[in-house]
Amino acid sequence: MTIGCNQIVDCILKNCENLVPGVKDIAYFINYDCVDKDLSTFDPSNPLLCTQLVLKTLSPPCYAYCVAGYNFSNEHKTAMVKKTYQKVWDHGFIFRIFDNTPEDKLWIENAKDSRFMVIIENNYNKVDAVNGNGRTVFEILGYDFGLELNAAERDANSDELLGGWLLTAGCSDKLKESSMPLSYFVGGTIAATRAALASLVAPCCPTAYGGTT
């Protein structure tokens, strides 16, 4: 048994930066089995900071697939869940698809039966001269077990979505994540993080994010 773990060892000082709420419209979905956990690395002093997320070399190839929302339509929530003895974390990601093509339906049908991690991009980018800017930007949801699609709904007469899809991804009912969403920050800079992310994304992603479309 480890003695002395789970103890508070640092201070939290006043944040002089303005918090910016919300996440970007683009999110990256990675099939859970594609992530090579043996090669993925974490900050030695902070296990909540993922410093490298590596995908396995499989055939067909593994990618991070983009899902693009519109006008801040993506939402993310995380909450602690108290179990009998331990406390765990529920990761939630709500996203909307503003279309209803057969390809979208197939995507939803496939996602329904799969488990996946989601990389989200926060609007909040804290300026931090000491540790490097951009450590608050990217987060990984579902690293332990992967998220699943918990709800998929389409209301053809919806005033809000105009017949698009409302999808809710989250943890399983019983198995929750052991930690809160991981911060994703590679190489000590936001530019290196974006470059690493660009090497993950599928060719179907927009060119601005590392894809070819």
């Binding site: 090669l39 590596v54 995908l55 190839p61 190489g187 290196a192 470059a195 690493a196 090497s199 590392g210």
Partner: protein
């Protein structure tokens, strides 16, 4: 020939900027893309849209395969970096042969981050042949499905004289 290669190299060199930044899509570069495509494929297309140039650019990149001609490939998501060498930071998209060889020479432990090293076969393409399990009692070759037509035809073709002789001989032996 050298001038042609130089032009293609130049196109390949600005390809990333061209695709990612609209401000880098100058008329001069468009002309170079057009010329390079003509040199490589012989195509003479009249480009009317900006995406056509990007498509042409990808065609050039695919034909030249500039990124990893020897076939070094990093695993997706890997960012290689060496302490004290910020210029050597690279991902799979920016990896060159020289960089790959430099990393493998100075940091051989980083070989685990390579998806493909030319001297080592591609793990994704290694075909594992499942062992052939042969049933020791009944091997598949020994199973013979009786063919009624063949049996009938065999009976018809049998020599009616020879067979009774055999039966007689056997019965004679049995008597002895």
């Amino acid at each position: 020939m050298a001038a042609q290669l130089k032009l293609i190299d130049e196109v390949v060199a600005f390809s990333r900027d061209y695709v990612n930044n609209r401000s880098h899509r100058t008329g001069e570069r468009k002309a170079k893309i057009k010329e390079a495509l003509t040199q490589l494929t012989g195509e003479k297309l009249k480009f009317g849209c900006s995406t056509c140039y990007i498509e042409a650019l990808f065609k050039i990149l695919n034909l030249t395969k500039m990124a990893t001609p020897k076939g070094y490939e990093l695993k997706k998501g890997v960012l290689l970096q060496a302490f004290g060498h910020p210029e050597k930071v690279c991902t799979n998209l920016t990896l060159t042969d020289e960089l790959a060889e430099w990393y493998l020479k100075h940091y051989p432990e980083k070989a685990i981050y390579f998806a493909k090293i030319p001297s080592i076969p591609d793990p994704a393409k290694v075909i594992i042949v499942p062992p052939v399990v042969v049933d020791p009692i009944v091997a598949p070759e020994e199973i013979k499905i009786p063919d009624p037509i063949a049996e009938v035809s065999a009976l018809v073709s049998e020599d009616p004289v020879k067979e009774p002789k055999k039966i007689v001989r056997r019965s004679a032996k049995a008597k002895k």
